[in-house]
Subunit: 453 residues, 2 copies
């Protein structure tokens, strides 16, 4: 281990009580984006901490929760971006919590608090790692930028407009993006991309009102039309049948296939979590992971029409609708896919079915061979003496593209959370040790990227 880095890691070890207290203090401050509760107070606390780091914070209004931007110059002219968010999910259902969700109580070495694993932990680890570097060496090994938002939990409605308004601020050589998981006993996990998303509603309507079902003999059915339309979208083998849907998707690279070998995805555990006996089409191994990470989806999130209560009601519903999310991969622009969907429905005789777009977000995938990604991977190897789990992309979605896409900035997500951390749920929690580890990781990544060829 490089001596300069070792000194920082030692400092972190010596000051871990102080860092844990900072995290707990942040967790005691509510900051619910959905209601606005405590958002301003939380932003103020973050701002103050950045001031202490001499990062020259700016509070930037967006119309919603403020963005907080700050930067610190370092030894080399290479720049890290730290993207995190200071907002949290609501605490409901409150009566299922075993402690006050804003008490940040520690029970058996585990902190229980809303936001402790998503994403106040991530945000605080950046502050602590920077603090440790400054305290030990007076200066950072490289430039860092802090880009903290307060609306991630409500879909980051101002992320794109912020990025467009502040192209200089978002420019950097690699993003440490929010957080990630490290399962107990498992290796560190690094995720270097996300899928995109197109969320639409399909609305079929034949009448404003429902009719007695005897009229089914003479009246068109919105529900049947929706069923027939849906059936044209995807076949039973999972092929999405929209013309052009797969166009422009780059082939899966050798590096991307190689990365699958490092994956810690447990098929048995996953089946148990999902409550299924078998994966789709009986897939296993690389085939399964290839689908999870590299294939787009067309999923029905919900469908509704007519009578849904107990027993029977003989009704012909006038309207039927469904919600669909397409998880997209690189090469699939959501607006283009939306156009293809409309064209598909028209072509198949469903011009009457209205398509309403709720949101769209392109995928972003980093080049695992990029210097930034290599530095992150090497950091984990060095710190933990084992092969990290490398995911070239998550199966999930995050608006990474807003900051990264235009200039193709690599990004990596890693963190101290876990599948069982109850994020977005009662009793969100995080082990103190895992949190401290992630401060060490952040400090190490700064070093490794600074010295990377």
């Amino acid at each position: 281990m490089d001596e300069r880095l070792q000194q920082v890691l030692d400092y972190i070890e010596e000051h871990k009580e102080e860092y844990v207290e900072l995290l707990r203090r942040f967790c005691r401050q509510p900051s619910v984006a959905a209601t606005g509760e405590g958002i301003r107070e939380m932003a103020g606390m973050v701002y103050e901490e950045l001031e202490k780091l001499n990062a020259g914070p700016e509070m930037i209004e967006t119309g919603g929760s403020p963005f907080i931007y700050a930067q610190i110059k370092g030894d080399v002219d290479r720049t890290f971006g730290f993207y995190d968010h200071y907002d949290v999910q609501p605490v409901d259902p409150i009566n299922e919590w075993i402690v006050d969700p804003y008490s940040a109580e520690i029970i058996d070495g585990v902190i229980y608090a809303r936001g402790v694993a998503d994403n106040k932990d991530g945000l605080v680890t950046r502050l602590c790692a920077v603090d440790a570097w400054q305290k030990v060496h007076g200066k950072l090994p490289l430039n860092v930028k802090f880009l903290f938002e307060g609306e991630e939990e409500i879909g980051s409605p101002h992320l794109v407009s912020f990025a467009k308004a502040h192209p200089d601020m978002i420019q950097c050589d690699g993003y440490v993006w929010e957080g990630g998981n490290r399962e107990p006993g498992g290796p560190a996990e690094i995720t270097m991309g996300v899928k995109g998303l197109l969320y639409v509603e399909l609305h079929a309507k034949v009448s404003e009102k429902d009719a007695h079902s005897m009229n089914a003999a003479i009246m068109p059915s919105a529900t049947w039309r929706l069923v027939w339309a849906l059936n044209t979208l995807k076949d039973q083998e999972g092929n999405i049948l929209i013309d052009g849907f797969y166009d422009g998707i780059p082939p899966i690279s050798q590096a991307e296939m190689e990365a699958l070998k490092t994956d810690v995805f447990s098929e048995e555990a996953s089946k148990e979590i999902l409550g299924i006996d078998e994966f789709l089409y009986g897939m296993t191994g690389d085939d399964l992971l290839t689908h999870l990470y590299y294939k787009p989806t067309c999923n029905i999130c919900g469908i509704t029409a007519g009578y849904q209560g107990e027993g029977s009601k003989t009704v012909l519903p006038g309207k039927a609708s469904c919600k669909i999310d397409f998880r997209l991969v690189p090469g699939q622009d959501p607006q283009r896919i939306l156009g293809l969907l409309r064209a598909h429905l028209d072509k198949h005789g469903f011009s009457d079915i209205e398509v309403k777009c709720n949101s769209g977000c392109p995928a972003h995938r980093s080049d695992p061979e990029a210097p930034f990604c290599k530095a992150v991977i090497r950091s984990m190897e060095k710190l933990f003496n084992e092969q990290p789990c490398i995911q070239c992309t998550s199966g999930g979605t995050s608006p990474m593209y807003a900051f990264c896409a235009d200039t193709n900035i690599p990004a990596a997500m890693f963190g101290a959370s876990s599948e069982t951390a109850n994020i977005h749920a009662p009793n969100e929690h995080l082990a103190v040790d895992a949190f401290i580890d992630m401060i060490r990781v952040t400090a190490t990544v700064m070093h490794e990227f600074a010295v990377q060829e």
Copy 2:
């Protein structure tokens, strides 16, 4: 007009105040099958009126509301069955009524009351017609049987068991069945059959719980399976694709096609009521009516899965289900169709989809050439001096088969109600004159069937 009948009709005219008061008295007594409210009291009132007619009523317990059976011998050995029901729908939403639903107030010659058009009017017209015949001639022109139930509005759960337990009671030469419509300014309508019904639920399940929709790449979808399964049931041309579904359906007879010419179905009015611009497949004329009356249907009454609220939720629902009603025609036994549906799903690879049968009821259609039917038709022609509307069957369903099917008894429905009478809804109403007309019709039908060759 036959003089004996004319005397009866004159008597009805002279005593119409009294008959209207009987209807109002019945309407003031709640008798809600769904809650049991007033059922016993109402049954008691019906029983008393039948005693006054010397009909020797019997209150027959079924486990639910009691059946009331009574009979009176007449001049000729030919027997009418009067099937009606003394129960009503609940009055909710109560605040939409312009009068107390149990006040039976008369406004501008119209009685407003729960049950006044469904089916206390029908029940009372039988009592009044019989009363008039007795008062004028001391004896009825033919035998009558009264079969009054108190659970029609909750699906007649004891009708079949009653019929099986009392085969002698239900035996007759023709049923005057409940009620029907006569639109203002239109001819009398006679409906001589009903469609059957098979009501099922399809349940698809891949997991007890919903999953994050990123798992759509690797997890089966209950909703997609349901959509694909539904798609195999019916094509876009309306053909029901279940093997054997159309087997055993007798061809539409010449008489049945002829009857369509008497139909008063207004395409324009119907489209307005249904809220549609065009009927299914742009049908009009005989083609439309043939479908409405003589073709079976496969209708989705409701479908449900996953998230149905405002906005977006990225979820992969573990379960999906729908409710389907098949309207059946003669030759289609519901149990057989249920078996064909199960076989169809199995054959198309959907053994995993559970079929739950909520109810089944065969169709019943009278021979329009039967002496009973001819007597009913002739009665309308004589009384109203115009061609009645003859429907060999309704597009709707009623458990007529329970009484009529085994011995193929013809049945006819006619009454004083209307499309706009608000049955089952607030402000149910009936014109006093229409009610009196239907007493005259009932009295006339008794005569015409008695003298029918």
